[in-house]
Subunit: 251 residues, 2 copies
DNA sequence: CGCCCTATTGATGTATCTCAAAGTGCGTGG
DNA sequence: CCACGCACTTTGAGATACATCAATAGGGCG
């Protein structure tokens, strides 16, 4: 299966497992608590089994493992099922940047469709699992089922919007504003998933956050400290508690 | 038709025509020199007429006109047919940022699919024309024609990649590198369209470029001047000639 | 349970922004 | 088609937000 190819791996050295030893348990997605997120919104009863039969397997990925690497041939889409992951893109000179944080229900790998090759890598931030969706099967199903087609289009369009918004963050906001926007984004997405808006475990390092937000890890750390002093948040390492959501919004 | 909604218009004051007076000539796209770009790669002969009948009308937009505005209901996709356009997104506090430069053949409006409403605005940088593609008809056609489905998926995936790349530009590169990357990008896209790699008329203002690149117009101007002194480019206002492409690449 | 990755905080440097003032050229209207 | 005016561009000097370098402290994971 998908052989790992060239990719700087400076950001994942903390994984002591060899890539070849990736634990890959593969189970039906049917017992998946977040099954509804794997795609099927709006499908009729008789369409659902088709989906499950065709396209929904799960794979475990351990912290630091790649789901796919930049340069891998594109064969499957993935949906984060549990845990969290980041996507990382590399400039030719080796500089890397985190391009997204993916939580349960978020799609992974849409970038591969156009060239048949992944342009980014996806790395688990903690032990996680992802649903595997063979793209050809999905495409076929989209032609049979309008609801499925809608869902896929929506997912792609959502990613387009998400990325434009992040471009705005990177291009127009100050360091404080960026960090605040990021915390609010994670808070909201956590809430959407039925977890707390106010408290969450952010598995990214300060370096990951900095990379995602276009600033250094030191500035991220200083900003969080300042927010804490101002009584906006309470940050104990990776555990973030949002105290004054409104003030954060006003930035 | 689509009523204009709230949107700061600070960047389009140079258009002296009222929005209501937009000249909207609507012609068949069949006589369009860039018709192949409006979508149909890979369609069989008998599929092409279907496409033309269903979905390809053109609309003229004059410099400064909106093709759609943030907040407009999403009904159509567009493809730039001639000229060039920019997409602009607004933060709630009114700050605006250019999120893309669109040349002939580039799609517009994919952001609207997920919410049924455009999140960005599209503004013509010069007198231009766009093909209008009613989304419901396109969706229907994608279910009949695999080639069409592939094409749409590819377009969306390309935009996802393009935006990730721009995130890297904004998050990781210095001012010099950003400007160089932008010039190289425009040069390449110009070449792909059969025009010169080396010389092009960039209809964006320095302010637009700065907004797109996350820097001030002054820094853009200074950077271009410095590039010129170093013999990398020759910039006479909006007319850009690339002299030393290799050095620009090495940044 | 210990090591190393991660986080915090400080001091200093600098790339880029901001404010300002000319100069230029393009599009509009005559 | 030409001329005028306004928007755009250029360039400078000074201010600042953030990066960089550095050293210590903390905590999670193997």
């Amino acid at each position: 299966m998908l052989t790992p190819t060239v990719v700087s791996n400076s950001t994942v050295r903390r994984s002591s497992r060899t890539p070849a030893a990736n634990a890959r348990t593969s189970t039906r997605c049917s017992n998946c608590a977040m099954r509804h997120l794997c795609m099927p919104q709006g499908l009729t009863v008789d369409e659902l089994p088709k989906l499950e039969a065709l396209i929904c397997n799960a794979r475990s990925v351990r912290r630091g493992d790649f789901v796919y690497r930049a340069g891998d041939p594109f064969e499957n889409l993935f949906v984060a099922r549990s845990g969290s992951l980041k996507t990382v893109m590399a400039h030719r000179d080796g500089r890397e940047q985190v391009t997204a944080l993916r939580l349960a229900g978020d799609p992974l790998g849409l970038d591969g469709i156009s060239t048949g090759m992944h342009t980014a890598s996806a790395v688990a931030l903690e032990d996680s699992s992802v649903c595997i969706i063979p793209y050809p099967a999905l495409k076929h199903m989209c032609r049979e089922t309008g609801a499925m087609q809608d869902r896929l289009h929506r997912l792609m369009s959502e990613q387009i919007i998400r990325e434009s918004s992040q471009m705005m963050v990177l291009g127009s906001l100050s360091a404080d504003e960026r960090v605040a926007a990021f915390l609010l984004d994670v808070s909201e997405r956590n809430g959407q998933r039925g977890y707390s808006h106010a408290e969450f475990n952010l598995r990214m390092t300060r370096e990951d956050m900095g990379s995602y937000l276009g600033m250094t890890l030191e500035t991220v750390s200083r900003t969080l400290s300042r927010f804490q002093k101002r009584g906006l948040i309470d940050a104990q390492g990776k555990l973030i508690r949002i105290i004054d959501l409104e003030s954060l919004r006003r930035l």
